[in-house]
């Protein structure tokens, strides 16, 4: 793979990798409907340590998927782009396709 093509796929992979975790998918999903959430709200939803959630948010921010804003002692996160929902539609159709194949194997 030449270096230009590699750079292209690495850039894509970084973004995709940022979403490749259940907790981070919950965050993206939640932000897409709620608009914005502070770290403490997300922490309660996810149910793990706040330090862990903060690191997940840092990953999403590093990939450019979310942006943050500090208001008072809280930090609010929101999606930078809405198209991530299309993304999920595609993932769901893969899941549906897989489920169908599973059924055909049983039938």
């Amino acid at each position: 793979m030449d270096s230009k093509r590699l750079a292209k796929y690495e850039a894509r992979a970084k973004i995709i990798k940022a979403m490749a975790h259940p907790a981070r998918l919950l965050i993206v999903d939640e932000l897409s409907t709620a608009g914005e959430r502070c770290v403490c709200e997300l922490t309660e939803m996810i149910g793990s340590d706040m330090s862990t959630v903060s690191r997940h948010l840092a990953v999403l921010k590093g990939a450019g998927l979310v942006e943050d804003e500090k208001r008072g002692q809280m930090v609010f996160y929101r999606l930078r782009l809405k198209c991530i929902l299309n993304f999920f539609d595609c993932v769901e159709s893969v899941l549906a396709c897989n489920a169908k194949s599973q059924q055909e194997l049983l039938a």
Copy 2:
């Protein structure tokens, strides 16, 4: 996070994680345009060991993204779904958005 919601995000994460690698993105991209490719062709494009490529393909297959067919001594892989291209469109728009932000910082 309740177990049902967790299961939903884990299923999604598995699929997304399967694409979260430059070599696997090249494979998906290539299959989306070429239709199908054997392991040796993909190995040459990627430029790493065939055993490595074979493992990447196994990851994609495990997530239900590709299917394989053995013909002769070769194994051909192809995409199970075409919608993965929409997927890339979204990733590209995140990249474009990031690039724009970078420029604004410089200006």
